[in-house]
């Protein structure tokens, strides 16, 4: 049953991701991205990380993508026109992609060659309590640094918006 759901939602995620690039209209692309986020949340759930799955839905599929759609609607962006490909992209596109995947595959094989397959339902450390404990004990410094980073970003956004107003 788990493997069936894994295959289903992995397929949805990949199809949505391809659709995201193929679609010409920004709203269609944004909705495809929501599909990708949602399917990834289900994959997290299958692996036993229920809190991460819900956070994925609330933060990415909910808040972030609502802002994307809001901005697209506000700018009233229309369909993209299909431009011609530059000669560099035509010449180097496929070789660079093959090389990139080759590098990823090389490092994966070198670093994780002895890792087994994922077993569904074997991981139980994804509850809210355990994530909270990990976040506020072992990973306190990265957590705080990230929150300061977000604060800086917010202040920066406010400063930029004020400059526009004056």
């Amino acid at each position: 049953m788990d493997i069936f759901f894994f295959l289903l939602f992995a397929l949805i995620a990949v199809v949505c991701a391809i659709n995201l690039i193929v679609q010409k209209h920004p709203i269609s692309s944004a909705l495809s991205l929501i599909g990708v986020m949602g399917s990834i949340a289900v994959l997290y759930l299958l692996l036993g990380a229920e809190f991460i799955a819900m956070a994925q839905l609330i933060v990415y599929a909910g808040a972030v993508m609502v802002l994307f759609i809001f901005v697209i609607m506000l700018l009233n962006a229309g369909s993209e026109a299909k431009g011609g490909r530059s000669w560099t992209a035509q010449l180097f596109g496929i070789p660079v992609m093959v090389a990139f995947f080759g590098v990823i595959a090389f490092f994966l094989i070198r670093e994780f060659s002895n890792a087994g397959f994922v077993k569904f339902g074997s991981f139980t450390g994804g509850s809210v309590e355990k994530v909270g404990m990990a976040l506020f004990t072992d990973y306190l410094l990265p957590f705080e640094v990230t929150s300061v980073l977000i604060l800086i970003a917010i202040i920066g956004a406010v400063v930029l918006a004020r400059k526009e107003l004056d």
Binding site: L31, M54, L57, I58, V66, M73, N76
Partner: protein, 396 residues
């Protein structure tokens, strides 16, 4: 196998009850507003307009669904579907009573009890805005677009105080499972004050409750925060171009969201299905007595009919009420039906408050709405969470 069959039966039952409730909530709303404004409300279809919802459903289904030529077809058709889907799905994790044993098989009165139930509801409600936003955008109409934009901005803003208000009682309960949260509110202080989180120490969650209710009005696009569909500025807002069932879909979504937020408020703040006072004080007899009085009133008015038809209809209702009263007082069904009654009574009261406020308050201006959310509600919610966390940490 048994589990699958039971779950299918429960799903069908809950879907049927929920959809009927949504249809009749419309009738209740029209009646309550009519009586507040000293009118009669629906009166012609059936006794006291009781068959009006059925007539409305038939009318909406048989109307022609117009597809305007200038819309973005795919998203125009997708939007009402999304709105209803997101609104109905969150009912699946809401518990509404204790467990039932039928033919030796025990099941809980809830579709599924997940240990991140509340987060799931927050996730679904944060995605519910897509239906409205897409409807507004795909209609290709400036009023719709303004409604959709207002709705997304409003829902993003009010989600923050709502989530913060929900987080405060969780600190006291120590779990995210909705059933677990209700169980933590069982019992009474000093023998008569219920341990609901609005009354319970270390910090009574009365402020969280008020903040949550205010934010819930904005999240469900109800008056005084119904800016996305403000008639006098936007004609009808995001659903100007919709007709027939796709128009009704948005109303179903709105009412379903109302039911969901009222259920959550009941579960988190008002003790779920735990009674208002102890069983020793006779709280088990409230439901039978109310139903008995209703039955007696129906019989009395049936014997002194105001209209010729009342002679036949009202005694039938009277007998039905007597039967329900008997069922509520029947010892084997008391432990099942009494919690259900308390849950429905509290949720129903909150729904009545929603309608009451709609009949009472005028609409906010848009800038007032935004500055209220960011400059007042959000800081207050944050402060409330801080005080609660501090006191919970101090006590434990």
């Amino acid at each position: 196998m048994v589990f699958i069959i039971i779950t299918l039966i429960k799903t069908a039952l809950i879907a049927f009850v929920l959809l009927t409730t949504l249809a009749y909530l419309q009738w209740v709303e029209r009646k309550v507003i009519a009586h507040v404004q000293v009118r009669m409300g629906p009166y012609r279809v059936g006794p006291h307009g009781l068959l009006q919802p059925l007539a409305d459903v038939v009318k909406l289904i048989t109307k022609e669904g117009v597809l305007p030529p200038h819309v973005n077809k795919f998203f125009y058709l997708l939007a009402p579907f999304l709105a209803v889907f997101m609104a109905l799905i969150s009912i699946s994790v809401i518990p509404f009573g204790t467990s039932v044993t039928i033919l030796g098989y025990t099941t809980e009165m809830q579709l599924t009890d997940v240990n991140v139930g509340l987060l799931l509801i927050l996730a679904i409600s944060s995605m519910g805005v897509y239906g409205i936003a897409l409807a507004g955008w795909s209609s290709n109409n400036k009023y719709s677009l303004l409604g959709g934009l207002r709705s997304s901005a409003q829902m993003i803003s009010y989600e923050l105080p709502m989530s913060l208000a929900l987080a405060a009682p969780l600190l006291a309960a120590g779990t995210l499972s909705l059933r677990g949260i209700v169980d933590s509110q069982a019992g009474f202080n000093l023998g008569f004050i219920p341990k609901w989180s609005v009354f319970q120490g270390p910090f009574p969650q009365i402020f969280s409750f008020i903040i949550f209710m205010i934010a819930a009005f904005a999240e469900t696009n109800r008056i005084p925060f119904d800016l996305p569909e403000a008639e006098n500025e936007l004609v009808a807002g995001f659903h100007v171009e919709y007709s027939s069932m796709s128009f009704a879909a948005f109303f179903m979504a709105e009412y379903s969201n109302m039911v969901t937020v009222c259920s959550i408020a009941t579960l988190l703040f008002l003790g779920g299905w735990h009674p208002l006072w102890p069983e020793a004080g006779g709280s088990n007899f409230v439901a039978p007595v109310i139903l008995f009085i209703a039955g007696a009133l129906c019989i009395y008015h049936g014997l002194h009919p105001a209209r010729p038809l009342d002679r036949y209809t009202l005694p039938v209702f009277g007998v039905v009420f007597f039967g329900l009263a008997g069922l509520m007082a029947f010892p084997p069904t008391v432990p099942i039906l009494t919690p259900l009654f308390w849950f429905l009574a509290k949720t129903g009261f909150l729904l009545f408050v929603f309608i009451w406020i709609r009949a009472t308050l005028p609409r906010f201006r848009y800038d007032q709405l935004m500055s209220f959310a960011w400059k007042f509600l959000f800081p207050v919610a944050l402060l409330n969470l801080l005080v609660t966390a501090f006191l919970v940490a101090l006590v434990s």
